[in-house]
C-alpha cells in the first residue's frame, strides 16, 4: 500500500509540475499576476508530494518490503538500517528520485528566499524549474519507476553493492546532487533573464549566492567521492579520471567559471551573454553527468540498447533541455547586451582568460569522456583514454590559470597597468620562485613538476598576503583587528577559496613527488620498511561482521624504534553476493598517511600486502573543504543579507536558521 501512495504522489507531483511549468511563465509573458501567483504554492505543493514519495520509498527500505523490485534489487534483510536507507540512492531509479527530491528542495528554497525578486522573474524561475521537474518525473513514471512491484515478492533482497556500504557513500550522492541540481537554480535564473530580456547587475546579485551555494555542495561532493575512492577501493588512488568522476568534474569546471563570470556581471555589468551561456552549460553538464553515470551507458553503450526506451528518453530530454535553452539563447542573447568595455590588462580581462582556460579544460575532459563512447556506439573499435592524457592536458591549462589567480584580485577593474602590477608583486614572485626551487632540493628530490606545483601553491599564498595587505590599507579602522573586520566577508571568501586551491595543489604535488608504494609478500613476524616507517605483520584472524566475514590483519607500525600505530586492514567477503572486498587500514596525518591493504592469502599464514606512504595526501581533500568554506563565507556576506532584510523586514527566526542551513 505504502509504495502505491508513493507512486500516486509522484503522479500528482507531475500534474503540479506541469501546471507550475506552464501557467507562471505564460502569466509572466502576458502580465497576468493571478497566473504568476500560481508558482509559489505549486512549487511548495510539489515539494511536499515528492517528499511523500521519497519517504514512502524510505519506508519500503526500512520495512524490508521485498515486493518492491527496487528494494529487492538493492538491499537485503541483513543490511543494517542506515545502509538500507542509503540504498535509496544506491542505483538508477532511486537516485533519480533523490535528484527530483533535491530539485524540489531547491524550488522550496527559492520560494522562501525570493521575496525581493520581481514577481515576473520569480514566476519564470519557478516555472523553468517546474519544467525540468516535469522531465524527471515523466522519466521516472514512464520507464524507471522506483515503486514497481515484484510479484511474487522476493524472499530476500540482492543486497547493496558492498562498495557502497560505507558512511562516505551515505553522504556523497546527496551532496553531489545538491550541487548538480543547485545549478538548476542558476540555469532557471538565466532562462528567466533570457525570457524577460532584462539582465542587469541586480540579476547577477540575485543569482550569485545560489550559484555559490551549489558550487560549494558540488566541491564537497566531489571531494567526498574522491576520498571514498581512496579508502574504499583499497588501492590508494584519489582520482582515476574515470568517466564517473569526470561526469562530476565537468559541471564543477563550468560552475567555477560561472562563479567568476557572475562576479564580473555583478560588479561591472560585463560578461552578461557569457554568464548566461555558462549557466546553461553548467546545468547541461550536470544533466549529462547524471545520465552518464546512471543510465548504464558507461558500463556498455549497448546497455543503452537493451532498454531503448530509457536511452531514447534520456537523449530526447537532453536534446530538449540543451537544444531548447541554446536556441533561446541564440534568439534572445543579442537583447541582453554585452556590458561595459574593458582593456585587455584588467581584472575583467584576467577573469575572462581564466574562464576560457576553465572551459577549455572542461572541453578536454568532455572529449576524453565522450569520444570512446561515440566510437563504441558507432562500432568503430574500443579505446580508452588513459589518465596520462588528462594529466598532460591539465598541467599546461591550469598553470596559467593559477598564475592569473594570483594577479587577478590585485588588478583594477577596467584597466590595470602591467608595470604597476609587477612592482606590487615582485616580492611575492621572488619568494615563490626561490622557495619552489629550494624546497624540493632540501627534501631531496628535485623534479620540474615538483617545483612547478610548489611554485603555484606558494604563489597563491604569497599573492593572497599581498592582496590582503593592500586591502587592509584601504579600509577604515584604527586597530588591525577592526580593519580585518571591515573587510567584507565575500572578499575573505575569495581569499580563502583561493588558498584552498593552494592547499590542494600542495597535496597533489607532494603525493605525486614523494609517495612510495610497495607490493610485498609478508610472513607472520616479518617487517618491511617504507618511507621511514617499519611495518611488522602480526598475522591475520577471522572476524564476522553483520553481513560479511573477514580476515583481519594486524600491522604494527614503528618509526625509529618507537611504535607509531597499529593498523587492521581487512579482506571481507560479503555473503549475499559472495563478493570480496578490500578494506584498507589508514593512519591519517597532517603530513602523511600510512596505508595498508591486504592482497591475497598465501601459504603458511603469509599474505601479499600493499603498503603506501603518502605524504600530504589529506591536503587534497582539505583544500577542497577550504574552497567550499570560502564559498560559504562569500555567501554569508552582508550585501546579500541586506538584500533579504530590506525586502522582507519581518523574517521569523526559524526561517533565518533555515536560510543559514541552505547557505
Amino acid at each position: 500500500m505504502i509504495p502505491e501512495i508513493g507512486h500516486f504522489a509522484l503522479i500528482l507531483a507531475l500534474c503540479v509540475a506541469v501546471v507550475q511549468g506552464i501557467l507562471p511563465i505564460y502569466g509572466a509573458a502576458v502580465g497576468n499576476s493571478g497566473l504568476m501567483a500560481v508558482a509559489k504554492p505549486a512549487a511548495r505543493g510539489q515539494f511536499l508530494l515528492v517528499l511523500t514519495a521519497f519517504c514512502c520509498l524510505g519506508y519500503a527500505f526500512a520495512e524490508k518490503d521485498f515486493s518492491v523490485l527496487y528494494v529487492a534489487a538493492t538491499s537485503n534483510s541483513q543490511l543494517p538500517l542506515h545502509y538500507r536507507l542509503a540504498a535509496i540512492w544506491g542505483a538508477h531509479e532511486g537516485s533519480l528520485l533523490l535528484w527530483t527530491f533535491i530539485l524540489t528542495i531547491w524550488m522550496f528554497a527559492v520560494t522562501l528566499f525570493s521575496a525581493h525578486l520581481p514577481d515576473a522573474t520569480r514566476s519564470r524561475i519557478l516555472g523553468v524549474m517546474g519544467l525540468v521537474s516535469v522531465g524527471f518525473l515523466l522519466f521516472m513514471l514512464t520507464v524507471s519507476n522506483p515503486f514497481e512491484r515484484l510479484i511474487p515478492a522476493a524472499v530476500d533482497g540482492r543486497d547493496l553493492n558492498p562498495l557502497l556500504q560505507d558512511p562516505g557513500m551515505v553522504i556523497h550522492p546527496p551532496m553531489l546532487y545538491m550541487g548538480y541540481v543547485g545549478f538548476s537554480v542558476a540555469f532557471a535564473f538565466a532562462i528567466a533573464a533570457l525570457l524577460g530580456g532584462n539582465l542587469d547587475a541586480a540579476w547577477a546579485r540575485w543569482s550569485r549566492p545560489w550559484t555559490t551555494v551549489a558550487w560549494c555542495f558540488l566541491t564537497v561532493g566531489i571531494a567526498m567521492g574522491s576520498g571514498w575512492a581512496y579508502y574504499e577501493l583499497g588501492w590508494g588512488g584519489w582520482w582515476f579520471w574515470d568517466p564517473v568522476e569526470n561526469a562530476s568534474f565537468m559541471p564543477w569546471l563550468a560552475g567555477t567559471a560561472l562563479v567568476h563570470s557572475l562576479a564580473v556581471t555583478d560588479k561591472r555589468g560585463g560578461f552578461k551573454v557569457w554568464t548566461v551561456l555558462l549557466a546553461i552549460m553548467a546545468f547541461s553538464l550536470s544533466l549529462l553527468g547524471t545520465f552518464l553515470v546512471r543510465s548504464g551507458v558507461l558500463t556498455s553503450v549497448h546497455a543503452f540498447a537493451t532498454d531503448p526506451k530509457r536511452g531514447l528518453f534520456i537523449l530526447a530530454f537532453l536534446a530538449v533541455v540543451i537544444g531548447g535553452s541554446l536556441a533561446l539563447y541564440a534568439w534572445r542573447a543579442p537583447r541582453v547586451g554585452l556590458g561595459g568595455s574593458f582593456a585587455m590588462v584588467s581584472r575583467e580581462g584576467m577573469l575572462l582568460a581564466n574562464n576560457v582556460l576553465l572551459v577549455a579544460a572542461m572541453g578536454s575532459v568532455l572529449l576524453g569522456t565522450l569520444y570512446p563512447l561515440f566510437l563504441d556506439a558507432l562500432d568503430l573499435g574500443k579505446i580508452s583514454v588513459g589518465p596520462p592524457y588528462f594529466d598532460s592536458v591539465f598541467v599546461p591549462l591550469m598553470t596559467p590559470a593559477i598564475f592569473l589567480m594570483g594577479i587577478g584580485p590585485l588588478a583594477q577593474w577596467k584597466k590595470a597597468s602591467l608595470p604597476d602590477l609587477a612592482k606590487r608583486l615582485k616580492w611575492a614572485f621572488g619568494v615563490s620562485v626561490l622557495t619552489a626551487l629550494a624546497l624540493p632540493v632540501v627534501m631531496g628530490n628535485w623534479t620540474p613538476l615538483l617545483s612547478l606545483g610548489l611554485l603555484l601553491a606558494i604563489w597563491i599564498a604569497t599573492t593572497a598576503v599581498v592582496t590582503l595587505r593592500e586591502r587592509l590599507a584601504h579600509v577604515s579602522g584604527n586597530t588591525l583587528l577592526e580593519r580585518l573586520r571591515s573587510v567584507p566577508r565575500s572578499y575573505w571568501g575569495m581569499l580563502v577559496a583561493h588558498c584552498g586551491i593552494a592547499v590542494f595543489v600542495v597535496g597533489v604535488t607532494m603525493v605525486k613527488g614523494f609517495e612510495s608504494e610497495k607490493d610485498v609478500r609478508m610472513n607472520v613476524g616479518e617487517t618491511t620498511t617504507i618511507g621511514d616507517y617499519t611495518f611488522r605483520f602480526d598475522g591475520a584472524q577471522d572476524v564476522v561482521g553483520p553481513n560479511y566475514t573477514a580476515a583481519r590483519g594486524t600491522f604494527s607500525v614503528s618509526r625509529d624504534g618507537r611504535e607509531t600505530t597499529v593498523l587492521y586492514p581487512e579482506k571481507r567477503r560479503y555473503t549475499v553476493q559472495n563478493q570480496v572486498m578490500t578494506e584498507a587500514a589508514i593512519d591519517p596525518g597532517l603530513l602523511r598517511d600510512l596505508y595498508v591493504s591486504l592482497g591475497e592469502p598465501l601459504n603458511d599464514g603469509a599474505w601479499s600486502v600493499r603498503l603506501y606512504h603518502k605524504p600530504f595526501v589529506d591536503w587534497i581533500w582539505g583544500g577542497c573543504f577550504i574552497m567550499a568554506l570560502g564559498g560559504v563565507l562569500a555567501v554569508s556576506d552582508r550585501r546579500y543579507r541586506i538584500a533579504w532584510h530590506r525586502q522582507e523586514p519581518a523574517v521569523p527566526a526559524s526561517t533565518r536558521t533555515a536560510r543559514r542551513k541552505v547557505a
Binding site: G225, T299, M344, S392, Q577, A606
Partner: protein, 160 residues
C-alpha cells in the same frame, strides 16, 4: 588603440589561446589513446608493437599460477578461440577470478607473452567488463568453438 582595434586584438588573442589549447589537447589525446584487442586479434598479429594496449576476455580455468615470490602471477586470457598468456607482478583486484572476465593493460613481449602493467576487474560479481564480454561475443560470432553461455547482465554502476 581604438576600441575596434582593441576588440580585434582581443579576439585574436582569444583564438590564439584556444588554438594552442586545442593543439595541445588533441596531441595529448592522440598519444594517450589505449586501444583494445581481443585474444584472436593478438594471435593474428594485429596489435601494435612496443605500445601499450588492452586485452580482454575470460581468465581460463586452472591457468592461474603464482610464482614463489607470492606476487608474480601467470594466467591465460582467452576469448574461447585463442589464448594469450599474461604475466603480472602485483596484487590482483578483488574480483579477479578464474572463469571470470578480466581486462589487462600492458605490452606484448618478444615470445608472445602479454606483460601486464595493470589488471582491471571491477564492480560486482555478475559484472563482466564490457571489453571482455565483447571479445567473447566476437569469438562466438565468428564461429569458434563455444564453451560457456555468457550472459552479460546489466552491470550495476558501482558508484557515482
Amino acid at each position: 588603440m581604438k576600441p575596434r582595434h582593441k576588440r580585434f586584438a582581443f579576439i585574436g588573442l582569444g583564438l590564439l589561446v584556444l588554438g594552442v589549447a586545442t593543439v595541445l589537447i588533441l596531441n595529448a589525446f592522440q598519444s594517450n589513446l589505449v586501444f583494445f584487442f581481443t585474444p584472436t586479434q593478438v594471435a593474428s598479429g594485429e596489435v601494435p608493437q612496443g605500445r601499450s594496449f588492452r586485452i580482454g576476455g575470460m581468465v581460463e580455468d586452472g591457468s592461474l599460477v603464482r610464482e614463489n615470490d607470492g606476487l608474480t602471477v601467470r594466467f591465460i586470457v582467452t576469448d574461447t578461440a585463442k589464448r594469450v598468456p599474461v604475466t603480472y607482478k602485483g596484487i590482483l583486484p578483488d574480483l579477479f577470478k578464474e572463469g571470470k572476465g578480466a581486462v589487462a593493460q600492458g605490452k606484448l613481449n618478444a615470445d608472445g607473452t602479454f606483460v601486464a602493467s595493470e589488471v582491471l576487474a571491477k564492480h560486482d560479481e555478475n559484472y563482466m567488463p564490457p571489453e571482455a564480454a565483447e571479445a567473447l561475443a566476437k569469438a562466438k560470432a565468428s564461429g569458434a568453438q563455444q564453451s560457456k553461455s555468457l550472459v552479460v547482465p546489466q552491470g550495476r554502476q558501482g558508484s557515482l
